[in-house]
C-alpha cells in the first residue's frame, strides 16, 4: 500500500501548530481549520469525471475506461492516509498542544482518550489504548513528543494485531466468498473490487447475484460485473438467494472457476429471519464444497459502536473471516474496527478508498496506526 509522504505530515503539523498558537486553544476553530484544509486538500487531489453519464453499454465502456485511468493515475496518491487526513489532525491535537506547552500533563491523556473516542474506537477500547501507551511511555522513559506518538502507534497496532492475520484468499477451487453486511455499506461495490483484484491476478471469477430482495440489486451487480469482465449467475428478483449460491457453485465447478463472489442482500443484523436466510445460504454452499466458504463482513467507516453488534451477530450466522472497511476516502476514521478487533478478534483484510475498481487496498495495521497518529 502506498501512502502519502512524510513531508506532508510535517507540514500538517506545522500549520496546526500555527493555528494552536495564534488562536490559543479554541477547539472549535482548530477543528474548523482542519476541516477546511482537509476539504481543500481533498479537492485538489480529486479528479473525477463530471457531467452526464448514461447507463447505456456505450456509456459504461467509457466509464470503465475513465475508471482505469483514475485508478492508475491516482494509485500513488490515493491511500489510507489521504482519507485519514482529518482524523489524523483531530487525533494529533493533544500532541500539538503538548508540543506547544513542551510538557505532558495529566489532561493530555484525557484529551488523547477523547480523541480516540471521537474516532469511534469506543470508550473501553480507547481507555485501553491510552493505558497501554502510558505504560510504554513510563516503562521506557519516553521524553519526546514523537516518542509518545510512537507509543500510541504501537498501542494501536497491538490492539489490531491480537486479532490475528486475515486468511489467505487462495484455497481449494472454487473458493466461495460471501460478502455480507447491513444495508448501504457498499457490499456490491466491494464484490466488484474483490473480483477485479482476482481478475487482474489472472484468476477466473464469477459473481453470484444473491441480492434478490433490493429493487435493482441484480442489475447493479450485473453492471459492475460487466466492468470487471466476469460472468454473473442470477435468478429472478425475489427468488431464493440460496438457490443462486447453489447454481453459481455448480457453474464454477463445471468451468473450473477460481473464485465465486456472493453478493448478498443488505440486512440489519437485528432481523432474525434474514440472518437465518444467510445461514441457510452458508450451509448450502458448505455442502457443495470440500472446504468451507469464506465470510467477508463489510463495515462502513462511518459506523459507530453499533459495528461491534453487527460483527457479533453476523459471526453467529456464518463464519466471519475478515472485515472490509469501506468509504475510507471520506473523513471517517473507522475506529470501530479497533473495538471489533478487541472484542471479537476479527482481522481487517482490506480498505475501500474510492469509487474506482482499483480502490480496494490490503489493510496494513502499522500504516493504519501511523495514519491515525
Amino acid at each position: 500500500m502506498i501512502f502519502r509522504k512524510k513531508k506532508d505530515t510535517e507540514s500538517n503539523k506545522k500549520s496546526q501548530d500555527n493555528v494552536a498558537r495564534s488562536k490559543g486553544v479554541d477547539v472549535a476553530s482548530v477543528l474548523k481549520e482542519s476541516i477546511d484544509s482537509a476539504i481543500s486538500q481533498e479537492t485538489s487531489e480529486k479528479q473525477k469525471s463530471s457531467g452526464s453519464l448514461d447507463i447505456s453499454p456505450d456509456g459504461f465502456r467509457r466509464l470503465d475506461a475513465e475508471d482505469r485511468r483514475i485508478s492508475s493515475d491516482s494509485s500513488g496518491q490515493k491511500g489510507l492516509k489521504a482519507g485519514l487526513t482529518l482524523s489524523r489532525k483531530i487525533l494529533s491535537r493533544p500532541f500539538t498542544k503538548a508540543a506547544v506547552k513542551k510538557a505532558i500533563d495529566p489532561s493530555f491523556w484525557d484529551e488523547a482518550e477523547e480523541a480516540l473516542i471521537s474516532a469511534d474506537a469506543g470508550v473501553a477500547c480507547s481507555a485501553e489504548i491510552v493505558k497501554r501507551a502510558k505504560q510504554i511511555v513510563i516503562g521506557e522513559g519516553v521524553k519526546s513528543i514523537d516518542g509518545v506518538r510512537e507509543a500510541f502507534r504501537r498501542a494501536v497496532v497491538e490492539t489490531i494485531l491480537v486479532t490475528g492475520v486475515p486468511p489467505s484468499l487462495e484455497g481449494e477451487k472454487p473458493q466461495v466468498i460471501f460478502v455480507v453486511g447491513v444495508n448501504g455499506v457498499g457490499k456490491t461495490t466491494t464484490c466488484a473490487k474483490l473480483g477485479y483484484i482476482f481478475k487482474t491476478a489472472g484468476k477466473k471469477v464469477i459473481f453470484a447475484a444473491a441480492d434478490t430482495f433490493r429493487a435493482a440489486g441484480i442489475e447493479q451487480m450485473e453492471m459492475w460485473a460487466a466492468r470487471v469482465g466476469a460472468p454473473v449467475v442470477k435468478h429472478q428478483p425475489g427468488g431464493d438467494p440460496a438457490a443462486v449460491v447453489y447454481d453459481s457453485i455448480e457453474r464454477a465447478l463445471a468451468k473450473s472457476t477460481d473464485f465465486v463472489i456472493v453478493d448478498t442482500a443488505g440486512r440489519l443484523h437485528t432481523k432474525k429471519n434474514l440472518m437465518e436466510e444467510l445461514s441457510k445460504m452458508w450451509r448450502v454452499a458448505g455442502k457443495k464444497l470440500k472446504g468451507r466458504p469464506l465470510g467477508v463482513l463489510v463495515i462502513d467507516a462511518t459506523t459507530g459502536q453499533n459495528g461491534v453488534n453487527q460483527a457479533r451477530i453476523f459471526s453467529q450466522a456464518l463464519n466471519v473471516d475478515m472485515i472490509v472497511l469501506t468509504k475510507m476516502d471520506g473523513t471517517a476514521k473507522g475506529g470501530v474496527v479497533l473495538a471489533i478487533g478487541r472484542e471479537l478478534k476479527i482481522p481487517v483484510g482490506f480498505v475501500g478508498v474510492g469509487e474506482g475498481l482499483g480502490d480496494l487496498k490490503p489493510f496494513d495495521p502499522v500504516e493504519y496506526a501511523r495514519a491515525l497518529f
Binding site: I35, A38, I39, E42, T43, K46, K48, S50, G51, S52, L53, D54, I55, S56, G59, E114, I117, S118, A119, D120, G122, V123, V182, N183, G184, V185, G186, A215, A216, G217, E219, Q220, E222, M223, W224, P237, L268, H269, T270, K271, K272, N273, D300, A301, T302, T303, G304, Q305, N306, G307, N309, Q310, K327, D329, G330, T331, A332, K333, G335, V336
Partner: protein
C-alpha cells in the same frame, strides 16, 4: 432502536431511585455513568459534555435535593434535557405556497436516500398529496432502475431523462411535474462524500435552479462520531432544512439522533423504521425521549391504533368483550391489526414499563410465531372458532395436521386463549374498557 440505550439508562436510574435522599455526590456519580452510556451510544462527545453539564446545573440545586422525591426530579430533568437536545417538538415539512413543492434528498453513499424517497412519497400520498419521484442519481449503477422499481410498487411516477446531467434532469422533471399536475416533486440525488467538491457543486446548482422548499439530509442511524462532521459540512456547503434518520430498526443506540439537532441546529423531521415502504414516521422528540428513558410511548400507540382500526370496529369489539363473546375470529382479527401496527414487539415497546419485557425472559415476539398461531386458527372450523370448548383430542390432532404444527402447540394456544378470555372477563367486569384493552387483548 434505542432499546439497549434504554436498558443502560434504566441501570443508572435504578441506582438513584434506590435512595431516599440524594447527595450531590450521588447525582454526580450517576451523571458520570450517564456520560459513559451516552458516549458508548455514539453521541458526539461535545454534545455529551454539554448535556451532562446542563443536567448537573439543574439537578444539584437545593430544590431538587431537598424535594420529597429527588430521584424522580432528576429523571424529570434528564427527560426535559433529552427532549430538548432531540429538538423540542416535532417539525413538519415545508411546502411551497406555489406548487409544485420541491423536496430534495441529499446524503452520503448508502445512507438510504432512494428508499427514503419512495417511503416519503408513500407518506405524502397518505396525506392527500400527489407526489412524483425524480431519479437524479446518474452515477451509481442501477440506481435509476432501483427507484423505478420502487415507484412502480407504490404507484408513483418516476421521472428520468437519459443522457442528461443531474442538474438538467431535475429542472426538466419539475417542468414535467407542473404539466402533469403533481404538487410535490421528490429529488433523489446521488450519494456523495461531503468532501467531494465537484459533487457538492452539483447539489448547489440544483438547489439554485429549483429553490426547493425542503432540503433533507439523509443520515444512517448507525453512524458514529462522524455524523456530526458530515452534517456540518453539508450544512456549510449547501444548507439543509431538516434530517431524515434511516435504519432506525437496527439496534443502534441512536447517538446520531441525539447529536444532530444540537450540532447543526436543524431538526430531525422523519425517521425510517423498517423494510416496508410504509415504514416512515414523523420524528417526535418528546416521545423518543420517553422511549429512551423507558417511559413508553402511548401517544404513538394510540395514533397507530386509530390508523388501523375504525371507530365502529372498535365499538363492536368492545361490545363482544363485554358480552363475553370474544372468540378465535376476533382474536385473529386483532392479530392482523397488530401486524399492521408494526408487529407485537414494536407495540409492546411503546407501552410504559413494558419496554423491557420482550427482552426479559427471552420471550420470542417474532412475527413467525404469530404466523403459526394464525395458521392454527385458520385450520379450525367456524364452529370451533366460536366455541373452543368443543375442541377435543381428535379435533386438535386434525388442526395440528392441517396447520403444519404440533398438537402441543394447539393445546398451548387453546389454553392461552382460555386464560385470556378469563382476563377479559375480569377487565370488562370493572366497567370501562379503556383504549388499552381495545388495542391489546393479548
Amino acid at each position: 432502536m434505542f432499546e439497549s440505550l434504554n436498558d443502560r439508562i434504566q441501570n443508572v436510574f435504578s441506582k438513584l431511585k434506590g435512595r431516599g435522599k440524594l447527595s450531590e455526590k450521588d447525582v454526580e456519580a450517576a451523571l458520570k455513568e450517564l456520560k459513559l452510556v451516552l458516549l458508548e451510544a455514539d453521541v458526539n462527545y461535545r454534545v455529551v459534555k454539554m448535556f451532562v453539564d446542563h443536567v448537573k446545573k439543574r439537578a444539584v440545586g437545593e430544590e431538587v435535593i431537598k424535594s420529597v422525591t429527588p430521584a424522580q426530579q432528576v429523571v424529570k430533568i434528564i427527560y426535559d434535557e433529552m427532549t430538548e437536545i432531540l429538538g423540542g417538538s416535532s417539525r413538519s415539512l415545508n411546502f411551497s405556497p406555489h406548487p409544485p413543492s420541491v423536496i430534495m434528498l441529499v446524503g452520503l453513499q448508502g445512507s438510504g436516500k432512494t428508499t427514503a424517497a419512495a417511503k416519503l412519497a408513500v407518506m405524502l400520498r397518505h396525506q392527500g398529496r400527489n407526489p412524483c419521484l425524480v431519479a437524479a442519481d446518474i452515477y451509481r449503477p442501477a440506481a435509476v432502475e432501483q427507484l423505478q422499481i420502487l415507484g412502480e410498487k407504490i404507484g408513483v411516477p418516476v421521472i428520468h431523462f437519459k443522457h442528461k446531467s443531474a442538474v438538467d434532469i431535475c429542472s426538466l422533471s419539475v417542468e414535467w411535474a407542473v404539466r402533469n399536475g403533481h404538487d410535490v416533486v421528490i429529488l433523489d440525488t446521488a450519494g456523495r462524500l461531503h468532501i467531494d467538491d465537484e459533487m457538492m457543486q452539483e447539489l448547489l446548482e440544483i438547489k439554485r435552479n429549483l429553490n426547493p422548499s425542503e432540503t433533507l439530509l439523509v443520515v444512517d442511524a448507525m453512524t458514529g462520531q462522524e455524523a456530526v462532521n458530515v452534517a456540518l459540512t453539508f450544512l456549510e456547503r449547501i444548507e439543509f432544512d431538516g434530517i431524515i434518520l434511516t435504519k432506525m430498526d437496527g439496534d443502534a443506540r441512536g447517538g446520531a439522533a441525539l447529536s444532530m439537532k444540537t450540532v447543526t441546529g436543524r431538526p430531525i423531521k422523519l425517521v425510517s423504521i423498517g423494510e416496508k415502504l410504509e415504514d416512515m414516521e414523523v420524528f417526535h422528540p418528546d416521545r423518543v425521549a420517553s422511549r429512551i428513558l423507558g417511559m413508553g410511548d402511548v401517544v404513538t400507540l394510540v395514533e397507530k391504533a386509530q390508523k388501523t382500526m375504525t371507530e365502529e370496529r372498535a365499538r363492536k369489539l368492545e361490545e363482544k368483550i363485554r358480552k363475553q363473546k370474544f372468540d378465535f375470529d376476533d382474536f385473529l382479527e386483532q392479530m392482523q391489526q397488530l401486524k399492521k401496527m408494526g408487529g407485537l414487539a414494536r407495540v409492546i415497546e411503546m407501552i410504559p414499563g413494558m419496554g423491557n419485557i420482550s427482552r426479559l425472559g427471552g420471550i420470542d415476539l417474532d412475527d413467525k410465531r404469530m404466523k403459526r398461531i394464525e395458521a392454527i386458527i385458520q385450520s379450525m372450523t367456524v364452529e370451533e372458532r366460536r366455541n373452543p370448548s368443543i375442541l377435543n383430542a381428535s379435533r386438535r390432532r386434525r388442526i395440528a395436521k392441517g396447520s403444519g404444527t404440533t398438537t402441543q402447540e394447539v393445546n398451548q394456544l387453546v389454553k392461552q386463549f382460555a386464560q385470556m378470555q378469563k382476563m377479559l372477563k375480569v377487565l370488562s367486569g370493572r366497567g370501562s374498557l379503556g383504549t388499552f384493552k381495545r388495542l391489546f387483548p393479548f
